[in-house]
Protein backbone atom coordinates (compact mmCIF):
# COMPACT_ATOMS: atom_id res chain seq x y z
CA UNK A 1 0.00 0.00 0.00
CA UNK A 2 2.86 2.32 0.70
CA UNK A 3 4.15 1.51 -2.76
CA UNK A 4 0.75 2.44 -4.20
CA UNK A 5 0.74 5.73 -2.29
CA UNK A 6 4.25 6.53 -3.48
CA UNK A 7 3.25 5.68 -7.05
CA UNK A 8 0.29 8.03 -6.77
CA UNK A 9 2.54 10.77 -5.44
CA UNK A 10 4.93 10.31 -8.34
CA UNK A 11 2.02 10.32 -10.78
CA UNK A 12 0.69 13.52 -9.19
CA UNK A 13 4.03 15.23 -9.55
CA UNK A 14 4.31 14.10 -13.16
CA UNK A 15 0.81 15.42 -13.83
CA UNK A 16 1.66 18.75 -12.23
CA UNK A 17 4.77 18.99 -14.40
CA UNK A 18 2.74 18.16 -17.49
CA UNK A 19 0.24 20.84 -16.52
CA UNK A 20 3.01 23.39 -16.17
CA UNK A 21 4.16 22.50 -19.67
CA UNK A 22 0.63 22.93 -20.97
CA UNK A 23 0.24 19.31 -22.02
CA UNK A 24 -3.09 18.90 -20.20
CA UNK A 25 -4.94 21.79 -21.77
CA UNK A 26 -6.52 19.51 -24.36
CA UNK A 27 -7.45 16.85 -21.77
CA UNK A 28 -9.21 19.29 -19.45
CA UNK A 29 -12.19 20.13 -21.70
CA UNK A 30 -12.61 16.44 -22.51
CA UNK A 31 -12.82 15.56 -18.81
CA UNK A 32 -15.30 18.34 -18.15
CA UNK A 33 -17.26 17.12 -21.14
CA UNK A 34 -17.73 13.75 -19.47
CA UNK A 35 -19.78 15.33 -16.69
CA UNK A 36 -21.61 17.70 -18.99
CA UNK A 37 -24.48 15.39 -20.06
CA UNK A 38 -25.55 14.93 -16.46
CA UNK A 39 -25.06 18.58 -15.69
CA UNK A 40 -27.13 19.69 -18.68
CA UNK A 41 -29.82 17.19 -17.77
CA UNK A 42 -29.88 18.45 -14.21
CA UNK A 43 -30.10 22.07 -15.31
CA UNK A 44 -32.88 21.16 -17.71
CA UNK A 45 -34.79 19.32 -15.00
CA UNK A 46 -34.40 22.13 -12.49
CA UNK A 47 -35.51 24.68 -15.09
CA UNK A 48 -38.58 22.66 -16.04
CA UNK A 49 -39.43 22.01 -12.39
CA UNK A 50 -39.28 25.74 -11.65
CA UNK A 51 -41.48 26.55 -14.61
CA UNK A 52 -43.97 23.83 -13.65
CA UNK A 53 -44.18 25.04 -10.06
CA UNK A 54 -44.59 28.62 -11.20
CA UNK A 55 -47.39 27.59 -13.54
CA UNK A 56 -49.10 25.65 -10.77
CA UNK A 57 -48.92 28.62 -8.41
CA UNK A 58 -50.36 30.89 -11.04
CA UNK A 59 -53.18 28.50 -11.74
CA UNK A 60 -54.02 28.11 -8.05
CA UNK A 61 -54.03 31.83 -7.43
CA UNK A 62 -55.99 32.93 -10.45
CA UNK A 63 -58.08 29.98 -11.46
CA UNK A 64 -61.34 31.88 -11.65
CA UNK A 65 -59.93 34.49 -14.02
CA UNK A 66 -58.38 32.04 -16.43
CA UNK A 67 -60.62 32.89 -19.34
CA UNK A 68 -60.16 36.60 -18.94
CA UNK A 69 -56.42 36.19 -18.66
CA UNK A 70 -56.35 34.13 -21.82
CA UNK A 71 -58.28 36.80 -23.68
CA UNK A 72 -55.93 39.50 -22.45
CA UNK A 73 -52.94 37.43 -23.42
CA UNK A 74 -54.34 36.98 -26.90
CA UNK A 75 -54.79 40.72 -27.24
CA UNK A 76 -51.28 41.33 -25.99
CA UNK A 77 -49.92 38.76 -28.37
CA UNK A 78 -51.76 40.41 -31.25
CA UNK A 79 -50.35 43.81 -30.34
CA UNK A 80 -46.88 42.35 -29.94
CA UNK A 81 -47.07 40.74 -33.35
CA UNK A 82 -48.23 43.98 -34.92
CA UNK A 83 -45.36 45.88 -33.35
CA UNK A 84 -42.92 43.20 -34.42
CA UNK A 85 -44.27 43.33 -37.93
CA UNK A 86 -43.80 47.10 -38.06
CA UNK A 87 -40.24 46.81 -36.73
CA UNK A 88 -39.38 44.17 -39.29
CA UNK A 89 -40.79 46.28 -42.11
CA UNK A 90 -38.71 49.24 -40.96
CA UNK A 91 -35.57 47.11 -40.73
CA UNK A 92 -36.23 45.72 -44.19
CA UNK A 93 -36.53 49.21 -45.66
CA UNK A 94 -33.36 50.29 -43.85
CA UNK A 95 -31.45 47.29 -45.16
CA UNK A 96 -32.60 47.91 -48.69
CA UNK A 97 -31.40 51.49 -48.47
CA UNK A 98 -28.10 50.36 -46.98
CA UNK A 99 -27.42 47.66 -49.53
CA UNK A 100 -28.01 50.15 -52.30
CA UNK A 101 -24.92 52.15 -51.31
CA UNK A 102 -21.60 51.77 -53.12
CA UNK A 103 -19.43 51.73 -50.02
CA UNK A 104 -18.10 48.16 -49.64
CA UNK A 105 -17.15 48.75 -46.01
CA UNK A 106 -20.67 49.78 -45.21
CA UNK A 107 -22.02 46.73 -46.98
CA UNK A 108 -19.56 44.61 -45.05
CA UNK A 109 -20.62 46.19 -41.77
CA UNK A 110 -24.24 45.70 -42.63
CA UNK A 111 -23.57 42.03 -43.22
CA UNK A 112 -22.19 41.55 -39.77
CA UNK A 113 -24.49 40.80 -36.91
CA UNK A 114 -23.19 40.76 -33.36
CA UNK A 115 -24.50 38.53 -30.64
CA UNK A 116 -23.62 37.67 -27.07
CA UNK A 117 -23.70 34.17 -25.71
CA UNK A 118 -24.01 33.78 -21.93
CA UNK A 119 -21.80 31.16 -20.34
CA UNK A 120 -21.31 30.06 -16.79
CA UNK A 121 -17.82 29.67 -15.41
CA UNK A 122 -17.53 26.03 -14.44
CA UNK A 123 -14.00 25.84 -13.23
CA UNK A 124 -11.44 28.40 -12.38
CA UNK A 125 -7.91 27.73 -11.28
CA UNK A 126 -7.89 28.53 -7.58
CA UNK A 127 -5.40 30.90 -6.10
CA UNK A 128 -4.25 34.35 -6.93
CA UNK A 129 -5.05 35.91 -10.28
CA UNK A 130 -1.32 35.93 -10.96
CA UNK A 131 -1.39 32.22 -11.43
CA UNK A 132 -4.72 32.04 -13.15
CA UNK A 133 -4.10 30.83 -16.65
CA UNK A 134 -7.38 29.50 -17.87
CA UNK A 135 -11.09 29.17 -17.21
CA UNK A 136 -13.66 26.62 -18.22
CA UNK A 137 -17.05 27.80 -19.35
CA UNK A 138 -20.13 25.78 -20.13
CA UNK A 139 -20.43 26.71 -23.76
CA UNK A 140 -18.80 24.64 -26.42
CA UNK A 141 -18.99 23.68 -30.06
CA UNK A 142 -22.60 22.63 -29.59
CA UNK A 143 -23.40 26.31 -29.05
CA UNK A 144 -21.25 27.44 -31.91
CA UNK A 145 -18.03 28.38 -30.22
CA UNK A 146 -14.83 28.36 -32.15
CA UNK A 147 -11.28 29.22 -31.21
CA UNK A 148 -10.23 32.79 -30.55
CA UNK A 149 -13.68 34.08 -29.75
CA UNK A 150 -13.58 36.82 -27.18
CA UNK A 151 -15.12 36.35 -23.78
CA UNK A 152 -16.53 39.44 -22.18
CA UNK A 153 -18.14 40.17 -18.88
CA UNK A 154 -20.97 42.56 -18.29
CA UNK A 155 -24.72 43.10 -18.23
CA UNK A 156 -27.08 43.90 -21.00
CA UNK A 157 -28.98 42.38 -23.87
CA UNK A 158 -27.79 38.91 -24.66
CA UNK A 159 -28.55 37.04 -27.85
CA UNK A 160 -27.56 33.44 -28.33
CA UNK A 161 -25.84 32.33 -31.52
CA UNK A 162 -23.92 29.37 -32.79
CA UNK A 163 -21.95 27.97 -35.63
CA UNK A 164 -25.18 27.38 -37.51
CA UNK A 165 -25.39 31.15 -37.81
CA UNK A 166 -21.83 31.35 -39.21
CA UNK A 167 -20.13 32.41 -35.99
CA UNK A 168 -16.52 33.30 -36.70
CA UNK A 169 -13.59 34.69 -34.78
CA UNK A 170 -13.48 38.44 -34.76
CA UNK A 171 -16.34 39.59 -32.60
CA UNK A 172 -17.37 42.92 -31.22
CA UNK A 173 -18.94 43.94 -27.95
CA UNK A 174 -21.33 46.54 -26.59
CA UNK A 175 -19.98 49.63 -24.90
CA UNK A 176 -19.16 49.24 -21.25
CA UNK A 177 -18.15 45.58 -21.45
CA UNK A 178 -14.68 44.51 -20.56
CA UNK A 179 -12.66 41.79 -22.24
CA UNK A 180 -11.80 38.85 -20.02
CA UNK A 181 -10.00 36.61 -22.46
CA UNK A 182 -10.50 34.49 -25.50
CA UNK A 183 -11.54 30.93 -26.27
CA UNK A 184 -8.47 28.81 -26.50
CA UNK A 185 -10.07 25.42 -27.00
CA UNK A 186 -13.64 24.36 -27.34
CA UNK A 187 -15.09 20.94 -26.80
CA UNK A 188 -18.67 19.92 -27.37
CA UNK A 189 -20.12 21.41 -24.19
CA UNK A 190 -17.28 23.33 -22.61
CA UNK A 191 -14.61 25.69 -23.80
CA UNK A 192 -11.25 26.69 -22.50
CA UNK A 193 -10.70 30.40 -22.05
CA UNK A 194 -7.37 32.16 -22.12
CA UNK A 195 -7.45 35.30 -19.92
CA UNK A 196 -5.90 38.48 -21.27
CA UNK A 197 -3.18 38.38 -18.64
CA UNK A 198 -2.05 34.91 -19.70
CA UNK A 199 1.09 34.44 -21.70
CA UNK A 200 0.35 34.35 -25.38
CA UNK A 201 -2.64 36.66 -25.40
CA UNK A 202 -2.28 39.45 -27.97
CA UNK A 203 -4.70 42.09 -29.14
CA UNK A 204 -4.58 45.29 -31.15
CA UNK A 205 -5.50 48.17 -28.88
CA UNK A 206 -5.85 51.93 -28.87
CA UNK A 207 -5.13 54.35 -26.08
CA UNK A 208 -8.01 56.56 -25.05
CA UNK A 209 -7.41 59.67 -23.01
CA UNK A 210 -10.02 61.78 -21.28
CA UNK A 211 -9.34 65.48 -21.72
CA UNK A 212 -11.30 68.62 -21.06
CA UNK A 213 -12.27 68.63 -24.71
CA UNK A 214 -13.54 65.11 -24.48
CA UNK A 215 -12.13 61.67 -25.16
CA UNK A 216 -9.16 61.53 -27.53
CA UNK A 217 -7.81 58.41 -29.14
CA UNK A 218 -4.07 58.02 -28.83
CA UNK A 219 -1.44 55.65 -30.09
CA UNK A 220 -2.11 52.18 -31.43
CA UNK A 221 -0.28 49.24 -29.92
CA UNK A 222 -0.35 45.56 -29.13
CA UNK A 223 -1.50 44.36 -25.72
CA UNK A 224 0.31 41.24 -24.59
CA UNK A 225 -0.35 38.99 -21.65
CA UNK A 226 2.83 38.03 -19.83
CA UNK A 227 1.50 35.74 -17.12
CA UNK A 228 1.44 38.52 -14.55
CA UNK A 229 -1.46 40.54 -13.13
CA UNK A 230 -0.70 43.40 -15.48
CA UNK A 231 -0.33 43.17 -19.25
CA UNK A 232 2.40 44.74 -21.37
CA UNK A 233 1.61 47.27 -24.09
CA UNK A 234 4.06 47.05 -26.99
CA UNK A 235 4.44 48.77 -30.32
CA UNK A 236 3.97 52.31 -29.06
CA UNK A 237 6.28 54.71 -30.87
CA UNK A 238 8.66 56.75 -28.77
CA UNK A 239 7.15 59.96 -30.14
CA UNK A 240 3.67 59.08 -28.89
CA UNK A 241 2.33 60.50 -25.65
CA UNK A 242 1.35 57.99 -22.99
CA UNK A 243 0.26 58.74 -19.46
CA UNK A 244 -0.77 56.73 -16.46
CA UNK A 245 -4.54 56.57 -16.35
CA UNK A 246 -5.07 56.28 -20.10
CA UNK A 247 -7.77 53.82 -20.99
CA UNK A 248 -7.00 50.91 -23.28
CA UNK A 249 -9.64 49.85 -25.78
CA UNK A 250 -9.63 47.41 -28.67
CA UNK A 251 -8.61 48.79 -32.05
CA UNK A 252 -10.38 46.03 -33.93
CA UNK A 253 -11.71 42.54 -33.47
CA UNK A 254 -9.78 40.10 -35.61
CA UNK A 255 -9.27 42.74 -38.27
CA UNK A 256 -12.84 43.98 -38.32
CA UNK A 257 -13.83 47.44 -37.27
CA UNK A 258 -16.40 47.67 -34.56
CA UNK A 259 -17.17 49.06 -31.16
CA UNK A 260 -14.16 49.39 -28.86
CA UNK A 261 -13.86 46.69 -26.28
CA UNK A 262 -12.50 47.82 -22.96
CA UNK A 263 -9.31 46.16 -21.78
CA UNK A 264 -8.13 48.22 -18.82
CA UNK A 265 -6.11 51.17 -17.72
CA UNK A 266 -2.45 52.16 -17.99
CA UNK A 267 -0.90 51.84 -14.55
CA UNK A 268 2.76 52.29 -15.45
CA UNK A 269 4.39 54.19 -18.31
CA UNK A 270 8.18 54.51 -18.13
CA UNK A 271 10.28 55.94 -20.91
CA UNK A 272 13.39 53.81 -21.03
CA UNK A 273 16.87 55.06 -21.79
CA UNK A 274 16.87 53.22 -25.10
CA UNK A 275 14.02 55.36 -26.38
CA UNK A 276 11.22 52.88 -25.81
CA UNK A 277 8.10 52.85 -23.73
CA UNK A 278 7.62 50.31 -20.97
CA UNK A 279 3.87 50.39 -20.48
CA UNK A 280 1.87 48.20 -18.13
CA UNK A 281 -1.90 47.86 -18.28
CA UNK A 282 -4.11 46.60 -15.46
CA UNK A 283 -6.98 44.46 -16.78
CA UNK A 284 -10.43 45.88 -16.12
CA UNK A 285 -11.92 42.76 -14.53
CA UNK A 286 -10.74 40.36 -11.87
CA UNK A 287 -10.94 36.80 -13.08
CA UNK A 288 -11.34 35.22 -9.68
CA UNK A 289 -14.68 36.96 -9.19
CA UNK A 290 -16.20 35.61 -12.39
CA UNK A 291 -19.29 33.47 -12.20
CA UNK A 292 -20.78 34.19 -15.58
CA UNK A 293 -19.32 35.49 -18.79
CA UNK A 294 -20.68 36.36 -22.21
CA UNK A 295 -19.04 35.20 -25.38
CA UNK A 296 -19.22 37.56 -28.30
CA UNK A 297 -19.85 36.33 -31.82
CA UNK A 298 -20.11 37.99 -35.16
CA UNK A 299 -22.00 36.39 -37.96
CA UNK A 300 -23.14 37.07 -41.46
CA UNK A 301 -26.71 38.20 -41.79
CA UNK A 302 -29.07 35.96 -43.70
CA UNK A 303 -29.40 38.64 -46.35
CA UNK A 304 -25.89 37.95 -47.66
CA UNK A 305 -27.00 36.30 -50.96
CA UNK A 306 -29.24 39.26 -51.71
CA UNK A 307 -26.31 41.62 -51.24
CA UNK A 308 -24.14 39.54 -53.54
CA UNK A 309 -26.85 39.60 -56.14
CA UNK A 310 -27.19 43.37 -55.73
CA UNK A 311 -23.44 43.82 -56.16
CA UNK A 312 -23.45 41.69 -59.31
CA UNK A 313 -26.29 43.65 -60.85
CA UNK A 314 -24.40 46.89 -60.53
CA UNK A 315 -22.86 48.17 -63.79
Amino acid sequence: MWLAACSLAALSLATAAADRLGLLSSVRPVLMDTVSPGRLLLNLQSGSAESVSAAERTQAQDDSHAAETARLEQQQMLRRLMIENAVLRRELQRDRRRFGLNDPEEVRSALLQLSLLPAQVLSCRDGLPVDLRELLVDAGRARGLTRSELVVQGHGGIVGAGRAQSVQPGDRVLDGLAVVGRIEKSARWVSLVQPISASGFRANVLLLRKTDAGAVFGARGILEGVGEPSCRLNGIAATEAVAVGDEVVAADVEGLQGPQLYFGKVVQADFLAGGQWDIRVAPAVSLEELREVQILHWELQPAEPSVTATENRRP
Partner: protein, 175 residues
Protein backbone atom coordinates in the same frame (compact mmCIF):
# COMPACT_ATOMS: atom_id res chain seq x y z
CA UNK B 1 -14.51 -4.73 -10.70
CA UNK B 2 -17.98 -3.87 -9.42
CA UNK B 3 -16.55 -1.77 -6.63
CA UNK B 4 -14.37 0.08 -9.12
CA UNK B 5 -17.36 0.84 -11.32
CA UNK B 6 -19.41 1.94 -8.32
CA UNK B 7 -16.61 4.23 -7.17
CA UNK B 8 -16.28 5.82 -10.61
CA UNK B 9 -20.04 6.34 -10.89
CA UNK B 10 -20.29 7.88 -7.40
CA UNK B 11 -17.37 10.20 -8.13
CA UNK B 12 -18.89 11.16 -11.48
CA UNK B 13 -22.21 11.96 -9.83
CA UNK B 14 -20.52 14.04 -7.15
CA UNK B 15 -18.52 16.06 -9.69
CA UNK B 16 -21.61 16.47 -11.85
CA UNK B 17 -23.60 17.85 -8.92
CA UNK B 18 -20.78 20.18 -7.93
CA UNK B 19 -20.38 21.48 -11.47
CA UNK B 20 -24.14 21.92 -11.83
CA UNK B 21 -24.32 24.08 -8.74
CA UNK B 22 -21.06 25.98 -8.79
CA UNK B 23 -22.64 28.86 -6.92
CA UNK B 24 -24.25 26.66 -4.26
CA UNK B 25 -21.90 23.75 -3.70
CA UNK B 26 -18.25 24.50 -2.95
CA UNK B 27 -15.76 22.62 -5.03
CA UNK B 28 -14.96 19.28 -3.39
CA UNK B 29 -17.78 19.38 -0.85
CA UNK B 30 -19.30 16.21 -2.30
CA UNK B 31 -16.43 14.77 -4.25
CA UNK B 32 -13.88 14.61 -1.43
CA UNK B 33 -16.14 12.69 1.02
CA UNK B 34 -16.97 10.23 -1.74
CA UNK B 35 -13.30 9.66 -2.45
CA UNK B 36 -12.58 9.27 1.26
CA UNK B 37 -15.31 6.64 1.40
CA UNK B 38 -13.71 4.89 -1.56
CA UNK B 39 -10.39 4.90 0.29
CA UNK B 40 -11.91 3.25 3.34
CA UNK B 41 -14.28 0.88 1.56
CA UNK B 42 -11.87 -2.04 1.39
CA UNK B 43 -8.40 -2.52 2.81
CA UNK B 44 -5.75 -2.89 0.17
CA UNK B 45 -3.97 -1.07 -2.56
CA UNK B 46 -6.72 -1.16 -5.14
CA UNK B 47 -9.11 1.36 -3.49
CA UNK B 48 -6.11 3.54 -2.81
CA UNK B 49 -5.15 3.54 -6.47
CA UNK B 50 -8.72 4.06 -7.64
CA UNK B 51 -9.31 6.97 -5.29
CA UNK B 52 -5.95 8.50 -6.11
CA UNK B 53 -6.52 8.31 -9.84
CA UNK B 54 -9.99 9.82 -9.44
CA UNK B 55 -8.51 12.65 -7.38
CA UNK B 56 -5.90 13.20 -10.05
CA UNK B 57 -8.49 13.28 -12.82
CA UNK B 58 -10.51 15.78 -10.82
CA UNK B 59 -7.41 17.92 -10.41
CA UNK B 60 -6.79 17.81 -14.14
CA UNK B 61 -10.39 18.84 -14.82
CA UNK B 62 -10.57 21.49 -12.09
CA UNK B 63 -6.99 22.40 -11.25
CA UNK B 64 -5.62 24.21 -8.27
CA UNK B 65 -2.06 25.47 -8.11
CA UNK B 66 -0.71 22.17 -6.79
CA UNK B 67 -2.16 18.64 -6.80
CA UNK B 68 -1.80 18.47 -3.03
CA UNK B 69 -4.84 16.26 -2.44
CA UNK B 70 -3.87 13.36 -4.72
CA UNK B 71 -0.28 13.80 -3.63
CA UNK B 72 -0.74 13.63 0.14
CA UNK B 73 -4.17 12.22 0.92
CA UNK B 74 -3.18 8.56 0.21
CA UNK B 75 -0.45 8.87 2.85
CA UNK B 76 -2.99 10.26 5.31
CA UNK B 77 -5.21 7.27 4.56
CA UNK B 78 -2.33 4.92 5.31
CA UNK B 79 -1.67 6.67 8.62
CA UNK B 80 -5.28 6.91 9.77
CA UNK B 81 -7.03 3.82 8.46
CA UNK B 82 -5.61 0.59 9.91
CA UNK B 83 -4.44 -1.95 7.37
CA UNK B 84 -5.75 -4.85 9.39
CA UNK B 85 -9.49 -4.92 8.91
CA UNK B 86 -10.04 -7.18 11.89
CA UNK B 87 -8.77 -4.45 14.22
CA UNK B 88 -10.97 -1.71 12.86
CA UNK B 89 -13.54 -1.85 15.62
CA UNK B 90 -11.18 -2.66 18.47
CA UNK B 91 -11.65 -0.49 21.52
CA UNK B 92 -8.70 -1.53 23.61
CA UNK B 93 -6.13 0.35 21.57
CA UNK B 94 -6.02 3.87 22.97
CA UNK B 95 -4.53 5.62 19.94
CA UNK B 96 -6.86 3.99 17.46
CA UNK B 97 -9.37 6.39 15.97
CA UNK B 98 -12.94 5.06 15.93
CA UNK B 99 -13.82 3.73 12.49
CA UNK B 100 -16.90 5.96 11.93
CA UNK B 101 -14.62 8.97 12.26
CA UNK B 102 -12.22 7.88 9.53
CA UNK B 103 -14.17 9.36 6.63
CA UNK B 104 -14.94 12.72 8.34
CA UNK B 105 -11.33 13.09 9.45
CA UNK B 106 -10.02 12.27 6.00
CA UNK B 107 -12.52 14.75 4.56
CA UNK B 108 -11.24 17.49 6.83
CA UNK B 109 -7.67 16.72 5.81
CA UNK B 110 -8.58 16.66 2.13
CA UNK B 111 -10.46 19.95 2.41
CA UNK B 112 -7.53 21.55 4.17
CA UNK B 113 -5.13 20.29 1.53
CA UNK B 114 -7.35 21.58 -1.24
CA UNK B 115 -7.54 25.03 0.33
CA UNK B 116 -3.80 25.12 0.91
CA UNK B 117 -3.21 24.04 -2.67
CA UNK B 118 -4.80 27.27 -3.85
CA UNK B 119 -2.33 29.46 -1.99
CA UNK B 120 0.52 30.99 -3.93
CA UNK B 121 3.73 30.00 -2.23
CA UNK B 122 6.33 32.45 -3.60
CA UNK B 123 5.03 34.77 -0.88
CA UNK B 124 3.85 32.94 2.21
CA UNK B 125 0.43 34.11 3.39
CA UNK B 126 0.23 36.01 6.63
CA UNK B 127 -2.18 35.25 9.44
CA UNK B 128 -4.88 37.53 8.07
CA UNK B 129 -4.78 35.82 4.68
CA UNK B 130 -4.91 32.43 6.36
CA UNK B 131 -7.90 33.53 8.40
CA UNK B 132 -9.63 34.67 5.20
CA UNK B 133 -8.73 31.36 3.58
CA UNK B 134 -10.32 29.46 6.43
CA UNK B 135 -13.43 31.60 6.63
CA UNK B 136 -14.04 31.92 2.88
CA UNK B 137 -12.87 28.59 1.53
CA UNK B 138 -12.51 25.95 4.21
CA UNK B 139 -15.55 26.58 6.39
CA UNK B 140 -18.14 26.79 3.60
CA UNK B 141 -16.79 23.55 2.19
CA UNK B 142 -16.75 21.78 5.54
CA UNK B 143 -20.28 22.92 6.32
CA UNK B 144 -21.44 20.72 3.49
CA UNK B 145 -18.69 18.11 3.38
CA UNK B 146 -18.71 17.07 7.03
CA UNK B 147 -22.40 16.13 7.26
CA UNK B 148 -22.12 14.40 3.93
CA UNK B 149 -19.08 12.46 5.11
CA UNK B 150 -20.93 11.48 8.29
CA UNK B 151 -23.79 10.15 6.19
CA UNK B 152 -21.32 8.25 4.06
CA UNK B 153 -19.69 6.78 7.17
CA UNK B 154 -23.09 5.59 8.33
CA UNK B 155 -23.82 4.13 4.93
CA UNK B 156 -20.50 2.30 4.90
CA UNK B 157 -21.27 0.85 8.31
CA UNK B 158 -24.76 -0.07 7.15
CA UNK B 159 -23.30 -1.78 4.09
CA UNK B 160 -21.05 -3.77 6.35
CA UNK B 161 -23.97 -4.82 8.53
CA UNK B 162 -26.04 -5.87 5.53
CA UNK B 163 -23.21 -7.77 3.91
CA UNK B 164 -22.67 -5.47 0.96
CA UNK B 165 -19.24 -4.61 2.26
CA UNK B 166 -16.92 -7.37 3.36
CA UNK B 167 -13.64 -5.94 4.55
CA UNK B 168 -12.53 -9.31 5.90
CA UNK B 169 -12.99 -11.02 2.55
CA UNK B 170 -9.77 -9.71 1.08
CA UNK B 171 -7.83 -11.04 4.03
CA UNK B 172 -9.55 -14.40 3.78
CA UNK B 173 -8.69 -14.53 0.10
CA UNK B 174 -5.13 -13.69 0.91
CA UNK B 175 -4.98 -16.49 3.47
Amino acid sequence: MKSVLAAVICAWLAVMLEVSGTGLIPRGALFLPVICAVFTWQPGARPLLIGGVLLLLDWIARPTLLPAVPLLLPFAVLLIVPHDARRRYEVRRILRLPTPLHIPLLTVIAAGLQCLAGVSYPVLPNSEELRLLVSHSLLPMLLMALPFSAVLALLVRLAEETGLRRPFLSELQRI
